[in-house]
Point group: C2
Chain length 188, copies 2
Amino acid sequence: MDRKQLIMDAAAQSFSQFGYKATTMDQVSKIARVGKGTIYLYFSNKEELLQEIMNNVVHEMHVVALKTIEENQSFIDYFHEAVQGMLKFREQHELIIKLSQELKDFGTPVVYEVLQSLEEAICFFIEEKIAHAIKKKEIKDCDPKITAFLMFKMYINLVNDWKVRHQPLPKDQVAALINLYFIEGLAP
Amino acid sequence: MDRKQLIMDAAAQSFSQFGYKATTMDQVSKIARVGKGTIYLYFSNKEELLQEIMNNVVHEMHVVALKTIEENQSFIDYFHEAVQGMLKFREQHELIIKLSQELKDFGTPVVYEVLQSLEEAICFFIEEKIAHAIKKKEIKDCDPKITAFLMFKMYINLVNDWKVRHQPLPKDQVAALINLYFIEGLAP
DNA sequence: CTGATGACCAAAAAAGTATTTTAGTCAGTT
DNA sequence: AACTGACTAAAATACTTTTTTGGTCATCAG
């Protein structure tokens, strides 16, 4: 049995349920049925434990996104599907929801860093796809980094920020809106 | 001398310099050279004092934006100029910067409410202009409320959020980007 | 009489202190 | 050699005391 993975699973479960700062190393060791010292054989500290879990999350997202690519030739179709996939993934991942909540409530610096680098990883992935789409002339020439950043942010705006003051938007409408504003543009 | 305005000016100065919660009513009365009780002849409490100041801010923004409209016929030109104006205005207004900082640092509920309603006021104004542009067929048919919301958010994303991890974007580039993504679209 | 005031007060915030919890270590066990 | 959990310093939390502050109102100046 891979003890490192065992510990990561236990920690991920506790982080998801209670958040980062409310999870103690004792609790993780209890859940993993492992001595507390054992954790420190694989992770140098609590922060690194969370970071490695998040690396896994990024990796899984990458896999989901890549699978979507294979099924769609054009960038626009792909983009549509990929973000739907990411939204679904995000919903499933209680961990990310919990961490976002904790960042808002307590501003835990470690959580800030970790979510920031998740965002960066997602943006970087989108960036590559955009650069590719530009080369293939599927979309206009534009700065891939800024474009990726704005696409990501627009999703967050529609999915998270809009519902602060309005009815949440259904997923397919979100995708339709992104397409309208980003791809087609408002020029008549 | 208008005592109400005197108090509002004093309060605005202190809020800008120290933020909402670090400003005491004693301090406001000192700056306004007025007895503390006098403040309560015009404002029922500290929160209302801030709210009325913010109402002024919204009103001034409105004036700036309306002046821009007169000078530009088409929505697209207008939009360009109007947001440039708003960015400039926002920069000048130390108050808004300070309040945003305070919201991030302490999450003061009053400040949250006040900034939220500033955002709403701006969005509502943009919404009217968009509805008008749609009627005139200057832009495609779209939901004016969502469109206004996204335009506003995109500006915030470009001006505030981008610089968290990258070089700040110059104002004219921000305007050019909004135009590229929002009006023209990425479709080739 | 009226608009203005600042001493006053309850309530909240801050500072200070005691107590508990916890991240990380390491001597000892298996 | 891999693992453990009692141990500790440091941090978080709970509790107490002190200070500050939003808001009131009896009094005052004009």
